[in-house]
């Protein structure tokens, strides 16, 4: 669950933006200049007056994740995470993890932003001591280029270096140790639907395993993991309902079900629940998600 949180938050924003309810905030103001000819819609054949481009402010309500609660299968609260957002409700500035039975956070993750981008993330223990810090550096295109992990004393522990292809897609990830020696390299391959494979190699360039991704109707359908010897280790199957990810099944190499996660969504398409179940279908732990609403204004051009 925690692994995908930063991605999930980002994703939820995307999902929310796509599903954002729109409302016209103000009457459409008159547009001073005429629209460029190529932007105008096709004119009807009858001699009605040409349409004029106008602009209006559109309000979008975007759900932003503020709380995540996990429960044992019997419904007993396990822990919850409170996300503290910046004033604009755009960035998570602090993530506080609470045990349901304890008053103080058992872990805090504090994020620092620079130039609107995540610059570092510090993890604090329940006693307030620093566990680790992660610093990020970006390339000229604004993509993450370097990531360094420091221990509680500020000593570098390991780092990662990323490079990208011309389309800005991650092409290579190098995992380095504290001294800067390359320990592993991952190469990414893309097809028309997106990422199709990740080749992993050790420091000597020997294969360490690979991941293959398959798509159906443009959506990820299966992800398979292969060991260094090329044998299948495990795979995951993805199923969708109304275009939204509905279930992920985790299976062993022989196809036997290991576990399954089912996802439920709210009216705006926001994830509201992820429930795990075991191989026999017995309910497992589940997580619920709560949101605040951010109102984004944007200017929209329309023709009248």
């Amino acid at each position: 669950m925690k692994r995908s949180l930063p991605c999930l938050i980002f994703t939820l924003e995307i999902v929310a933006l796509l599903f954002a309810s729109c409302a016209t905030k103000a009457p459409p103001p008159a547009q001073a200049s005429a629209p460029p000819p190529q932007a105008a819609p096709a004119q009807p054949a009858n001699p009605t007056p040409a349409k004029v481009a106008k602009q209006r402010t559109v309000e979008r309500k975007v759900p932003v994740l503020v709380k995540e609660s996990s429960f044992y299968p019997d419904g007993l609260a396990d822990e919850y995470i409170v996300y503290k957002l910046d004033d604009a409700k755009k960035n998570v500035i602090e993530k506080d993890v609470y045990d349901a039975s304890r008053p103080d956070p058992i872990q805090r993750v504090v994020s620092d932003f620079k130039d609107g981008r995540l610059a570092s993330e510090s993890v604090f223990e329940s006693d307030g001591s620093l566990r680790s810090r992660r610093d990020l550096a970006y390339d000229t295109s604004g993509l993450p280029a370097q990531e360094t992990i420091f221990d509680a004393k500020g000593k570098p522990q390991s780092s990662s270096a990323y490079s990208y292809d011309a389309s800005g897609r991650k092409a290579e990830w190098k995992a380095l140790d504290a001294s800067g020696s390359v320990k592993a390299v991952s190469d990414y391959a893309y097809g028309s639907s997106g990422l199709v494979g990740v080749e992993m190699k050790d420091s000597g360039g020997k294969p360490a395993g690979r991941i293959e991704l398959e798509y159906a109707d443009g959506k990820l359908a299966k992800r398979s993991y292969f060991g260094a010897d090329g044998s299948l280790q495990k795979f995951e199957s993805y199923a969708y309902s109304d275009g939204l990810l509905a279930t992920v099944e985790y299976r062993g190499a022989d196809g036997s079900l290991v576990s399954k996660t089912s996802y439920s969504y709210g009216p705006s398409g926001e994830l509201v629940k992820a429930a795990e179940s075991g191989p026999s279908g017995a309910p497992g732990e589940y997580t619920t998600y709560e949101y605040a609403v951010r109102v984004d204004d944007s200017v929209e051009t329309y023709y009248e």
Binding site: R3, L76, I149, D202, G243, L245
Partner: protein
């Protein structure tokens, strides 16, 4: 809209997946290749930082390896790093509820020199609800409760972890040690946590509570009975505890007025529990009657009458009948005062509650005795009308 839905789903899947799982594979490999504690620590930080449940088996084997190699790290700097590494791994195993690592976590709780790592291991056992360790954690807390440890801070941390773990385990065996931790030698933080955990520590804490009521001081009896009252135990279980407390509250003699008052407080609480839980058995009748006859104050006596009325069984109705007849007889003999009148009126009204014919003769006796005030006679007549 459909197009957006599809895009959103793609975003959800692709974003969450493409940047995560090769990292898991790679960091697992790096851990396996790591030499020496600093490298292992760095690799484990990365691995744990992923928050990926699928890493639990390798984290468990890392914990085993660390436990085996513990004696190698004797220098202060190494010990600190060792403790910190165990702590990080133990916490993650608890988060992932990886019960296969329970034995190793218990070993860590016993053998790792770092107190915080021990505490983390204990809390993780609670988090994964490793019930096999409930008794061991309960005994550990029980032992810590006995007296302050040489290093108070260490004892506090371990006690706090035990309380947290037992609260998660929800096993009745955890009740007594947490009960005593709430009034132990610890700082307020630990005591408060224990007191907060108590109501939810077991769905039915009746057995350990009865044990405390049977053997402990009056103050603890009261606290234990209150805990039973606040618990989620079924009504009949609360009633059996209240009956025990009521009877013990009569058996024990207060050495002074303060103690007599405390015993009365215990009995009053028991009587309230009998009323709230609508006791209708015969077991509490003698205790109720004793509270009426020998009660510390009028409040106890009135509660006793109410408990008998709510009970309504033949023995309870018989007790009410007899005491009303006794009051009536006293009245006839000219023994009368304000308190007796108040008790008589209450007894009559609670007799009506019984809806039991057994009380009828006593009500009739009062209703035709013009030595009573009109208020009491009217109450007796009304009670008679309520009789089936």
């Amino acid at each position: 809209m459909k197009r957006y839905l599809a895009l959103a789903a793609l975003a959800l899947a692709a974003t969450a997946l493409s940047f995560a799982d090769e990292t898991t594979e790679i960091y697992q490999m790096l851990y396996q290749q790591a030499q020496g504690l600093p490298e292992k620590h760095a690799a484990l930080l990365n691995l744990v930082g992923l928050g990926d449940k699928s890493t639990a088996p390798i984290l468990a084997s890392a914990l085993d390896e660390l436990l085996l190699s513990g004696q190698r790290y004797s220098a202060p700097g190494e010990q600190e790093l060792y403790g910190s590494t165990i702590r990080v791994v133990a916490q993650a195993l608890g988060d992932y509820k990886y019960e296969s690592a329970a034995a190793s976590l218990w070993e860590a709780a016993q053998s790792v020199p770092d107190t915080l790592a021990q505490a983390e291991a204990i809390m993780s056992l609670g988090k994964m609800r490793a019930l096999d360790y409930a008794e061991r954690i309960a005994l550990k807390l029980q032992s810590l409760n006995l007296q302050p440890t040489m290093d108070r801070d260490q004892g506090e941390k371990l006690a706090y972890a035990c309380v947290i773990a037992l609260a998660k385990l929800k096993d009745p065996r955890g009740f007594a040690p947490v009960f005593f931790a709430a009034e132990g030698w610890y700082s307020q933080r630990v005591r408060q946590q224990a007191a907060q955990a108590l109501p939810d520590i077991a769905a039915d804490p009746t057995d350990p509570i009865k044990d405390i009521i049977g053997h402990e001081t009056i103050e603890r009896k009261i606290r234990a009975l209150q805990a039973e009252s606040d618990s989620k135990a079924e009504g009949p279980r609360k009633i059996e505890t209240a009956v025990l407390a009521l009877n013990l509250g009569h058996l024990q003699q207060g050495r002074d007025r303060t103690e007599a008052k405390l015993l009365s407080d215990l009995r009053k609480l028991a009587l309230r529990m009998l009323i709230i839980n609508k006791d209708s058995g015969a077991d509490a009748v003698s205790g109720g009657l004793a509270s009426y006859q020998k009660g510390f104050d009028d409040e106890e006596r009135l509660l006793a009458l109410q408990a008998l009325g709510v009970n309504g069984s033949d023995p309870a109705a018989t007790a009410l009948r007899d005491l009303i007849l006794q009051l009536n007889s006293d009245q006839k003999s000219g023994i009368a005062d304000e308190t007796r009148n108040r008790m008589a009126k209450a007894a009559i009204e609670y007799a009506a509650l019984t809806k039991n014919k057994i009380v009828k003769p006593s009500l009739m006796a009062v209703s035709i005795d013009d030595q009573w005030s009109s208020g009491i006679i009217v109450a007796a007549q009304a009670a008679l009308k309520a009789m089936p």
